[in-house]
Symmetry: C2
Amino acid sequence: MRIGELAARAGVSVRALRYYEEQGLLAADRSPRGQRRYPDEAADRVRLIQQLYAASLSSRTIAELLPCVNANVSTPESRARLAAERDRIDGQIAELTAARDRLDAVIAYSTSAQSGCRVEAGPATA
Amino acid sequence: MRIGELAARAGVSVRALRYYEEQGLLAADRSPRGQRRYPDEAADRVRLIQQLYAASLSSRTIAELLPCVNANVSTPESRARLAAERDRIDGQIAELTAARDRLDAVIAYSTSAQSGCRVEAGPATA
DNA sequence: CTAAAAGCTAACGTTGACGTCAGAGGCAAG
DNA sequence: CTTGCCTCTGACGTCAACGTTAGCTTTTAG
């Protein structure tokens, strides 16, 4: 498929796909006239990339870690790196959980409207 | 305390604290000569701010939501906004969990390291 | 064939949370 | 007093992941 279709399928912009290629995250064949051609699996790869971005991995990190991108090989180092990033994500989840809990506390506080934080006791508002 | 001490206690830079004030997230008294003076509780507030940043809230959002920052009041809107952000964080946690699981799959694959090199998509990822 | 739609490269613009530098002033100690 | 660290206010620099525009070629629809 061509770049527009892949973008639609993966839910990203055409620009993003070109950027991924520039960063070495996503390879593409070229038609005789230079247009990018992608296999069906590319959509899946793009979604994986998006997921790793969402987990705060940088392009460089993703490029270093994804095994197939550059005919990479599995080395003890790369596996350690993968495990380290996995653990980092675990830490991030813990952070987010804490933030959510704290936000819940703010919500509870806001709802019960206690001292220190004044709540106007005016007439019912629309 | 002065800004340097607060920065040390909260584990952020002096620049960050000035930035928080600029964004309306952190108020400060001033000495007669213009230096910022913070109460002890400021350290806690800074850590809360950091936690919300870690949860991908913007300065603007934090400023809008933190009830006491600007003598703000609890309105139905603000409470709805808080709940919405809380739910967004829940979504983020789900995303991160999915990313971690997928990374685990890559690790498992990498460990068994054979040819072909393909990472499966797994169940619906949103 | 022609025109619109889609692709290409190259390169500058954007945004957010600060980093960093410049130049000037405050503050306790020797 | 003066050395040395801290703080102040601007204001420009940074970095990543794209957005956007420009100008041109390729592909597709009629």
